[in-house]
């Protein structure tokens, strides 16, 4: 038995004690004795966060990140479950790789790993992967993320096959031919900076195409990391028509704009790119009106040397799974409310995946996080568990930091 004293439930000021036994929640404020007692220091207990979109880089790119560093970073960010993207080296398109990843992650005692597998072999967009076998091995979602499903017929076949297996296909919705060599949002800023632009239309055009495919196949389509007001409108209209489409947005698209590229710092080079303030405002409105289904980070670690290249050479991606929750709380507690932020990072992703909705009542799996909603801390990348120790928010003051993450009844992270 483990008990955590001095914790609050969301929306309450009362200090309570939470009891955990054999990986499940035993109850609140019991009269039992526990072998281990932890002090929640007045923090608020919420279900452990669920990340549907993280790049953990294993196998093959472990200089950027590996399961141990990535899942430790996730736990430090308050996440209990992480869906890893399959664009590794080799690509996760073989059941044996899925099994190996799960087995390795299980032994780490950090955040739980639920791998996504490639939709097509080698993510080449040419032949379906062995979706049924991948599912049996433990894959929870199919995606060619990192690539963009240029072949519409293959996406159709993939959606149909995955749907028959009850699993979701998620797509990086960007027309690669329209994006071309763009490294940032196309607009006045990209032209002033002389950097090749990626137009908002590259996303909208692809989302429009994919929505039509979802509509006529009837298969579930999940659009990853939406970045533009226009694409969001398309999703909004499609949902009204009853098309089975869902979408996610990332905190970096809510909090940063293409103006950040004026620094010429490749930290801000992401795909899809940082857009305009009007886009960021529209994404927030989409969260408020329910068009956006959940938040994800698209945690995409790279080495510091790679990110210190020039803007054409540096790879796309931003790594901040350890900051996502505090960033959302600090910036959006006033507009969205903490409860909604928590929901968008816990129940909402679980619902999308068809998983049991996380809760903190007796008998529920003991996956939870204690967050300190009040104390401000300065972002210090040197303390990151992730191998990527660089971030746009270095030096910023945030609140809402996770202090304790429990996964399956075991402590996966405890902040000193």
């Amino acid at each position: 038995m483990l008990k955590i004293e001095n914790v609050k439930r969301l929306g309450s000021e009362q200090l309570e004690t939470l009891f955990v036994e054999n990986g499940y929640i035993k109850g609140w404020n019991l009269n039992d004795t526990a072998e281990q007692t932890l002090d929640g220091r007045g923090g608020t207990v919420i279900p452990a966060l669920i990340e549907l979109h993280a790049h953990l880089r294993e196998p093959g790119q472990t200089e950027k990140e590996d399961l141990a560093s990535g899942l430790a970073a996730a736990a430090a960010g308050g996440y209990g479950t992480v869906v890893s993207m399959p664009n590794t080296s080799p690509v996760v398109d073989d059941p044996s790789i899925v099994r190996a990843l799960i087995e390795k992650a299980d032994g780490l005692g950090l955040a739980r790993l639920r791998p996504a597998a490639a939709l097509t072999k080698g993510q080449s967009g040419k032949e379906l992967a062995e979706l049924a076998l991948l599912k049996d091995a433990g894959a929870v979602m199919f995606t060619d993320d990192g690539r963009t499903n240029e072949d519409a017929r293959m996406l159709r076949l993939g959606l149909e096959y995955a749907h028959s297996l009850g699993l979701m296909v998620s797509v990086h919705a960007e027309d690669a031919t329209l994006r071309a060599d763009g490294v940032m949002n196309e607009g006045p800023v990209s032209e002033a900076l002389g950097l090749p632009g990626n137009p908002a239309a590259a996303e909208a055009a692809r989302v429009a195409r994919d929505i039509e495919i979802a509509a006529f196949t009837g298969a579930r389509l999940h659009v990853q990391h939406l970045s533009t007001a226009r694409a969001l409108d398309l999703v909004r209209e499609a949902k009204k028509r009853g098309v089975p489409v869902t979408c996610e947005v990332c905190p970096h698209h809510l909090t940063l704009t293409d103006e950040a590229l004026r620094s010429f710092d490749a930290l801000y080079k992401v795909a899809p790119p940082l857009r305009t303030q009007a886009d960021a405002d529209a994404l927030l409105a989409g969260l408020l009106d329910g068009t956006v289904d959940c938040l994800s980070t698209d945690h995409a670690p790279h080495t510091r040397a790679e990110k210190e290249r020039d803007l054409l050479e540096a790879p796309f991606g931003i790594a901040y799974i350890e900051l996502a929750f505090p960033l959302m709380v600090t910036r959006f507690a006033d507009t969205l409310g903490v409860e909604r932020i928590v929901n968008l990072m816990t129940s909402a992703p679980a619902r999308l995946m068809g998983w049991d909705e996380p809760n903190l009542t007796e008998g529920a799996p003991a996956d939870f996080t204690v967050v300190d909603l009040d104390t401000e801390r300065v972002v210090d990348p040197s303390t990151f568990k992730s191998k990527a120790k660089h971030t746009p928010w270095a030096g910023e003051t945030l609140r809402g930091w996770p202090t304790l993450t429990v996964v399956g009844g075991r402590v996966a992270f405890e902040r000193a």
């Binding site: 002033a192 002389g194 950097l195 620094s263 010429f264 040397a305 290249r309 020039d310 803007l311 054409l312």
Partner: protein, 308 residues
């Protein structure tokens, strides 16, 4: 006047007065170039590093001569993209060069913003000698200087820049600089090579019609058309481009009577500019090269010596 900028990356930190001072000072430098002994001791004891990550013999020669004429030592560094592919970041390269006790960098790079990164990583004064499509400030200064010298002033002058504006750092830098000095800039080219968003720059007009663009112009600058643009699908054919946008005598007939012709070089003769126009009485293309050295001496002096 604002604090003297430490670098010349673009004109963001510059006032028109400061820019005017650089142009004025170029007159003094030109006088040095006309002397039998073309050398002054202004930069004696200083080491200037030309870090060229992209080839450009002309620009490099111009900068190195400018530095040497002011008695600076020159460390010449040329890197292909090979060092990047070996995993060395731009930062590593610059920190290594900085360790050689270099006093200033002159940077040429294929990526926009690279000169800003060199400034950040080296902590030394940096002159941008062309970064990606972003900026080529000394080229714009020498263009402005040439126009001012030939036409007496920039105030109210109409400057038309024709060609591949999309990929041109020369166009972007001129479009930033010339309006600051009182000139009107018209950017012209086929729509595929003329980004609409450049219309947001103050004092800049866009048009796809070369005849309109040149009508009443006091200076007409042709931009180099890279052969690759054909493969990129930007143009239907070279012949079509030549018919619509070549700077030639027929087009120049619409310009003002004493209009001059500029080209940042190297030229594709009889593509973006006709040989007749390039060699004709309006052409100031060789004066640009000459003025380039004086401008670069003036910029070096301004950043490294005359810290008023």
């Amino acid at each position: 006047m604002n604090a003297r900028p430490r670098h010349l990356l673009d004109f963001d930190d510059y006032t028109p007065e400061r820019l005017g001072a650089i142009l004025d000072n170029a007159d003094v430098m030109r006088a040095v170039l006309d002397r039998p002994v073309k050398k002054v001791p202004a930069l004696q004891g200083l080491t200037v590093c030309t870090a060229f990550f992209e080839n450009s013999t002309r620009t490099r020669t111009s900068f190195e001569l400018a530095a040497r004429r002011m008695s600076a030592d020159v460390l010449s560094f040329a890197a292909g993209s090979s060092s990047v592919s070996k995993g060395e970041s731009l930062r590593d390269t610059i920190e290594t060069l900085t360790a050689y006790k270099v006093d200033a960098f002159i940077v040429r790079h294929h990526a926009s913003g690279a000169a800003h990164l060199v400034a950040k990583y080296s902590g030394k004064p940096v002159i941008n000698a062309g970064d990606g499509r972003r900026a080529h400030p000394t080229q714009a200064l020498l263009d402005a200087y040439t126009i001012r010298r030939e036409l007496g002033s920039l105030e109210g002058k109409n400057v038309t820049i024709i060609g591949d504006v999309r990929h041109s750092r020369v166009a972007r830098s001129n479009a930033q600089l010339l309006p600051m000095l009182g000139a009107n800039v018209t950017l012209c080219g086929p729509a595929t090579l003329l980004p609409r968003d450049l219309a947001h720059l103050p004092g800049v007009k866009l048009t796809t019609n070369a005849q309109d663009a040149v009508t009443g112009a006091d200076a007409v600058m042709a931009l180099r058309l890279q052969g690759e643009r054909m493969n990129g699908g930007y143009l239907g054919s070279l012949q079509e481009y030549i018919r619509e946008y070549q700077v030639n005598d027929a087009l120049l007939a619409r310009a003002s009577d004493d209009a001059i012709v500029l080209h940042p070089g190297p030229m594709n003769r009889d593509v973006e500019i006709s040989s007749a126009a390039a060699d004709g009485p309006r052409s100031r293309i060789l004066q640009q090269v000459e003025n380039g050295q004086a401008i670069r001496m003036s910029v070096l002096y301004h950043l490294l010596v005359g810290r008023a």
